[in-house]
């Protein structure tokens, strides 16, 4: 099945893909048919910069278990950071 359900969000960061490093300002998250991962469905993440063209993209195709583990690891990593480090870059946890 195609769920079509898609979340698009603005992000601030960099990613490395086919064109090398680029400023990533958009993330797209969806659960649908993967292109390469040999499963019928996957949790897909695209990190992109539309202003630099379609090739300014890093695509992830993850099993649901992997996607959840990655999400938890990201949150754990952020939770372990001393607040002063965020403040040094003008950001927040």
């Amino acid at each position: 099945m195609c769920t079509y359900a898609t979340t698009v969000l603005t992000i601030d960061g960099s990613a490395k893909g086919k064109i090398g490093w680029f400023s990533a300002n958009q993330a797209t998250v969806y659960f649908d048919h993967p292109v390469h991962f040999a499963r019928r469905h996957a949790l897909m993440v695209d990190l992109a910069n539309p202003s630099e063209g379609p090739s300014a993209r890093v695509g992830l195709e993850l099993s649901p278990e992997s996607a959840r583990a990655l999400a938890v690891a990201i949150l754990d990593a952020l939770d372990a950071v001393p607040p002063a480090l965020f403040e040094a870059d003008g950001g927040t946890r």
Binding site: M1, H33, V35, R40, D46, A48, P50, P54
Partner: protein
């Protein structure tokens, strides 16, 4: 079936006269012949869809697959183009109709054309095939597991889709539906509703719901591929087009 054909990437006028990329394949003989517009799946204008296009040519039909993401991502890899189009909410319906009209006009203008043009689409292209057949003068249409033909689009849906229910009374040609019993987008219940609605409008609709198959059973490069079902369904498609594209 000799299977001799020629195939090439070309440019055709699409909606609003925009020049769009397309993959065109035609038998090597002189015709006359019917023609088919192939609408690629949501993952884009990819190698597998071009293979489908060549298959139609090998079977005696001229076939063209327009790159529906030509505008958003010209020249991009199919997966990058599909990701770009998805983030933008997919292909607008009005533009799709214009692109299919351009593709059909191109096919009918070929010297070997008998004037008859069908359309077939896969996944999102399945819905678009029905959409095209409800807006254009076509001779046959095939919907391969297209979602949201009769289902309502949920609130907050990220694609510019609408149910095609109000358009079904305008269907211009016989329609064939090919679905997987394990699919939920579209679900078997929705496909039954589609049949009831089309019958109510006096339209010609034939459908097959295959057990042991879900969405994308035609996709040879994906785990959803079901060889026995796909082989049987290919035969049904070719018989359908042979019958309805014999003459305009």
């Amino acid at each position: 079936m000799r299977g001799d054909l020629t195939a090439a990437t070309i440019t055709i006028p699409g909606a609003n006269g925009d020049e769009i990329e397309a993959y065109y394949a035609a038998p090597s003989d002189g015709g006359p012949r019917g023609s088919v517009v192939v609408l690629h799946h949501l993952p884009g204008y990819d190698a597998a869809t071009k293979e489908i296009t060549r298959r139609f040519a090998a079977e005696g039909f001229a076939a063209i697959c327009p790159n529906l993401y030509s505008r958003e991502a010209p020249g991009a890899d199919p997966d990058d183009a599909a990701a770009t189009a998805r983030a933008l909410g997919g292909v607008p319906d009005e533009r799709l109709v214009g692109d299919v009209a351009g593709a059909a006009a191109f096919l009918r203008a070929q010297p070997a054309s008998n004037g008859a043009v069908g359309v077939i689409g896969y996944c999102s292209g399945g819905r678009q095939s029905v959409l095209a057949a409800c807006n254009l003068d076509l001779q046959a249409a095939v919907d391969c597991y297209g979602a949201f033909v009769v289902a309502d689009v949920p609130d907050g849906f990220p694609f510019a889709f609408t149910s095609l229910r109000p358009l079904l009374e305008n269907l211009s040609c016989p329609l064939l539906g090919l679905f997987g019993a394990e699919d939920q987008f579209p679900s078997p219940e929705q496909n039954v509703e589609m049949a009831i609605l089309l019958e109510g409008h006096g339209k010609s609709f034939t459908s097959h719901t295959f057990e042991g198959a879900g969405h994308a059973f035609f996709a040879t490069d994906r785990p959803s591929y079901r060889p026995e079902v796909a082989t049987k369904a290919w035969g049904i498609v070719l018989d359908f087009f042979t019958t309805h594209l014999a003459e305009a």
